[in-house]
């Protein structure tokens, strides 16, 4: 057990080092500053005091970044190992494929979470500086749900990288997640207005595609609605765990069948 934890710990540390030593995070940080600093200084029609638009823009950016980071890390997890041939010495060590998959997945999730935490801390600081209250129950719920979404996105990218080529998988997921995020809840209404194969297809997407919008508590955070009910929160947590687990299981089966 201890050895297993040590192995998984090493894989987690590797992902963290990779994320923070690549330039992605710093590029995102610079991009955020370029976008948000002028935005924070805007005085529309000369009126001052508006802050919610800034929070909304910052949170939307964070969602975009988290998707970019999690799909990037998740998609690269094994493809770079195969391309660089480092998967061979790794699997020659006393580590099973299952441990490797879980370790690398957890590493990617922790790395993505670290990036998310970094951006949420920045947002919280900016919120406090603008006189807002940020450490609310709703804030913690929002962070937890966002983190679970990241875990789901990493699992999807990981499973996708075994199923398709890395670029195809990342591109498809980069379309699917935002599409579900913005339009997922409207699919049943759309299905009602179409018929035949398309209706079936829309229903399949509605029931099977990952509902990114479940994890989106931006409105509650921006407008100070308060947290969601415990039952709903647990349902979303369960959804994320179940969906990520199913994707990891699929990835495990594909990894087992992968010819090395």
């Amino acid at each position: 057990m201890r050895g297993c934890m040590r192995r998984i710990g090493a894989l987690v540390k590797l992902s963290l080092l990779e994320l923070w030593r690549r330039n992605d995070m710093f590029a995102l940080l610079v991009l955020s500053l370029v976008l948000l600093v002028p935005l924070s200084m805007a005085r529309p029609f000369g009126a001052s005091g508006a802050t919610r638009y800034f929070d909304e823009a910052a949170l939307l950016l964070m969602w975009g970044y988290s998707l970019f980071i999690s799909l990037g890390i998740g998609g690269r997890l094994f493809t770079s190992e195969f391309a660089n041939r480092t998967v061979y010495p790794l699997l020659a060590k006393p580590v099973s494929r299952g441990e490797l998959l879980v370790g690398k997945y957890l590493g990617a999730v922790v790395a993505s979470w670290s990036a998310l935490a970094f951006f949420y801390v920045l947002w919280a600081i900016s919120s406090v500086l603008r006189g807002g209250e940020c450490l609310t129950f709703c804030f913690f719920q929002a962070v937890v749900l966002h983190a679970l979404f990241v875990a789901l996105a990493v699992a999807a990218a990981l499973a996708g990288s075994f199923l398709l080529t890395p670029s195809a998988s990342t591109t498809l997921l980069a379309i699917l997640f935002p599409a579900m995020f913005f339009f997922g809840r409207r699919l049943p209404d759309y299905a009602e207005n179409v018929s035949g194969v398309l209706r079936g297809l829309v229903n399949v997407v509605y029931w099977l595609a990952p509902h990114a919008e479940f994890f989106d508590m931006r409105q509650r955070l921006v407008h100070g609605w308060g947290g969601v009910e415990a039952g709903v929160f647990l349902a979303v947590v369960g959804y994320a765990i179940f969906y990520s687990g199913a994707l990891l299981l699929g990835a495990r089966l594909l990894f087992n069948r992968k010819r090395l």
Binding site: R6, R7, L14, N84, P89, A92, K93, P94
Partner: protein, 243 residues
């Protein structure tokens, strides 16, 4: 007491219609150094992958230290270096070894001690803080050797270890392998470098079209005719076996 470090018994491996390894029987004794020779596509790498549990044979059995190489626990005693791997470019060699040490389940202190020793042996002390992306091919090979030796393995499996090494590094690496041989380690390596093989090995196994056409002592192969391994290797390949 185990006599054999590994045993391949009637092992075959097919990829669709292609028979990469065909009914291979091969073993390595404790403390032996065996060179694994053959032309490109002869089945050397496939055999090595079966040995370290990356591939399952379609027929026959592979035993590693008496166990199944697919079991992670069996691989505790091996060190493996692949042919030309590009190790994590954003790590330095110390971090690379710390990572592999963690994957092997080694404690931090042991990893640190082994790292200091190995970096001296592979002459990477001065470059230890540089990211691996700045390393030359030869330096990456040496880093690869260091990771393979990290857990002080009883069996060292090396896939084309001399590739990318300059003559000086080659001599140094040969000396390192000889030292390991003297320490009683078993070494199994594939190579196209017949000169190095001749200098290092007790035995050689020669593969052709997935079949082992010779497995025995180097001196027997070089033997009475007094010729070098290169000429005899070509003879064996042409004849399909040793008389």
């Amino acid at each position: 007491m185990e006599d054999k470090v590994f045993e391949l018994d009637g092992v075959s491996r097919t990829f669709g219609a292609l028979k990469a390894v065909d009914n291979l029987t091969l073993s390595l004794g404790k403390g032996e150094v065996t060179g694994f020779l053959g032309t490109n596509g002869a089945g050397k790498t496939t055999t090595i992958k079966m040995l370290i549990g990356l591939l399952r044979p379609t027929a026959g059995t592979v035993r590693l230290f008496g166990g199944d190489p697919a079991d992670a626990a069996t691989r505790v005693r091996i060190g493996y270096m692949p042919e030309m791997a590009y190790y994590y470019p954003y790590l330095n060699v110390r971090e690379l070894l710390a990572f592999y040490g963690g994957v092997c389940g080694m404690d931090k202190q042991t990893v640190r001690t082994r790292t200091d020793k190995l970096l001296e042996e592979v002459e990477l002390v001065e470059a230890a803080k540089r990211p691996l992306k700045t390393y030359s091919k030869g330096m990456l090979q040496r880093a690869g050797i260091a990771q393979a030796l990290l857990n002080d393995p009883d069996l060292l499996i090396l896939d084309e270890p001399f590739t990318g090494l300059d003559p000086l590094a080659r001599i140094h690496f040969r000396k390192l392998l000889m030292k390991l041989r003297d320490q009683g380690k078993s070494i199994f390596f594939s190579s196209h470098e017949l000169g190095e093989t001749e200098l290092l090995c007790d035995n050689v196994a020669i593969m052709k079209n997935g079949r082992c056409i010779y497995h025995g002592p180097v001196d027997r192969l070089a033997g009475d005719g007094g010729g070098n391994l290169e000429r005899l290797f070509l003879d064996v390949l042409e004849k399909g076996g040793v008389a």
